[in-house]
Symmetry: C2
Subunit: 326 residues, 2 copies
């Protein structure tokens, strides 16, 4: 499935967002421009700005403001990727060397800060305090989601207890805000704003669980990082949590973690065993069932909105996100 048909109602506006992002690469600091250019040409799918623009299509209050917002949510997303790669010491992202790999952690931290601040400055141009505040809160949620991830590494019971909170903060939060802000800026009535927010929440939760599955299933060249990367980092995701819950006495993850933290020799073997056990059990279909539930909730939220091309696109987006891992 391609994003082309999904984005059809907003394709011209997305092109303007793209232009807006590239205008950022002309600063008055010559050394900064190539870095920005590299960071902004990341080759992402622009899912979040598309969500903002589609959410703003139901009313036509002031399309210019939704466009600014769309650029801001993408910038914010790119800033978080730069910091995430830096703290994870990741070398590749979408088949290209990361900023931290190419320019070092020093530049990566500061460039991320610069992009966070640029995104927040963009949002001010909407002139609407409600979305400006929500945007800053979202940055708090993203950072604290990553912190929760860090606090719960190698700790199965904590990881389980904080799982929903963590994936809401680190992923669903920005989907929520993207949809909600588009709706607010378009002048939608409050019940529709809330419906689009609910849509964003559910789509975002599904998106993260699909990501979790890709990590244990995908091939390395496709996802751009080694299979089982989360487990190697001690990050427990839905499929690995399910494995531990179902086989409390006989799962290889406890031993894998001990091997990783103690520098044991069996890491590769235990990782492969964990992945095989997840893929060979009923866990993957059960994760799909959870994803399906979130997707159904997202689709149900859209019933508050009139039937029209942007609503059909948002419905297609649900399918697109669900099918990413198939």
């Amino acid at each position: 499935m391609q994003t082309v048909s999904i984005y059809a109602p907003v394709v011209d506006k997305l092109a303007l967002v793209e232009e807006q992002l590239h205008e950022l690469c002309q600063t008055d600091i010559a050394d900064l421009d190539p870095l920005l250019d590299y960071a902004l040409r990341s080759g992402g799918k622009r899912v979040r700005p598309a969500l903002t623009l589609l959410a703003s299509e139901f009313y036509e209050d002031d399309q210019k403001r939704s466009q600014i917002m769309a650029a801001a949510v993408e910038l914010l997303h790119l800033a978080t990727l730069i910091h995430d790669d830096t703290v994870d010491n990741a070398g590749m992202r979408r088949g290209k060397p990361t900023i931290n790999k190419l320019y070092g952690n020093h530049v990566a931290v500061l460039l991320g800060d610069y992009l966070f601040a640029t995104s927040a400055t963009f949002v001010c141009d909407t002139g609407v305090i409600r979305v400006i505040r929500r945007f800053s809160e979202t940055i708090m949620e993203l950072a604290s989601g990553q912190l929760i991830e860090f606090f719960t590494t190698f700790d199965p019971s904590k990881a389980r207890r904080l799982y929903d909170e963590r994936i809401y903060r680190k992923t669903a939060s920005l989907f929520c805000t993207s949809a909600e802000s588009g709706a607010v800026l378009s002048g939608a009535p409050e019940h529709q704003v809330q419906a689009l927010r609910r849509y964003g929440y559910n789509v975002g939760m599904a998106f993260q669980i699909v990501d979790d599955l890709l990590d244990i299933q995908g091939d390395a060249s496709e996802i751009g990082k080694p299979v089982g990367n989360d487990l190697l980092q001690g990050v427990l995701t839905l499929p690995t949590i399910m494995l531990m819950e179902r086989y409390p006495e006989d799962n290889p993850i406890d031993r894998l973690f001990t091997s990783i933290t103690d520098g044991g020799p069996d890491v590769d073997h235990l990782l492969q065993k964990s992945l095989d056990m997840i893929n060979g059990s009923g866990i993957v279909p059960d994760c799909f069932a959870v994803i399906r539930d979130y997707c159904s909730e997202a689709a149900a939220a859209l019933e508050e909105l009139p039937d029209c091309p942007p609503r059909r696109s948002l419905l297609e987006m649900v399918d697109y996100i669900r099918e990413r891992s198939r």
Copy 2:
């Protein structure tokens, strides 16, 4: 000189700011609270929030908003310190281990992000788009100032050319914004807002040059980092730039930099020679002359404002900043 008398007109409000900062340490993420507590009890002088509060004292529009702003500028300052220490790999700050030292770079980057975002969320509670936008721009300036510093390390001609721009962005920018925002939120007329902004700019520039001097003169226990630390990092400051300009053929800095970058054995010796040469020449008094000029401009800006205790405090603050390095 103590800050006590300077802060007298706003001492109660500063205490409320302090309370507000500490309220932040009760989040719904148990693991986060001790980190926040450690970061916020940094023992700083709270110069920037005092500036915001003093600048807001000339008019009495809505003191609650200036107080929120004061907490926000301090939070922002603390966030930048955390990221600065992380990218500089600094182990100590004000006599205490840094966050990156205690908890690792991973936590330090994310905690800094969280505090940046918290400060920006605070500012939204003022409800005034002008100060909210200025605040985000300031974060851009702080990050780009640090990037300029990085781009100009070990490069004397670039460091000279970009010196004013760099110290404006990395330091004076937040002083400007602290003063300007206090004035805007108090309802001051525009010419007084601009006067307080000019005051903040000049005080901030002076503050940074004093910092540059402390780095080459202070004793390590007082400034909490090794003497000559800037030079060891390849950062060229006003006194070292002056040394290179005055003794283009016969200064030890070129050789010091070669030694540092090539891992040569003479680093300690060449560093000491550079520091001795600066301290033994007329460079220190010449730096003081530059500081004095900025301080005079700051004092002159205050002439736009009525004579009253907060104005006298702002004048004393100029003296306090100038005298830090004596």
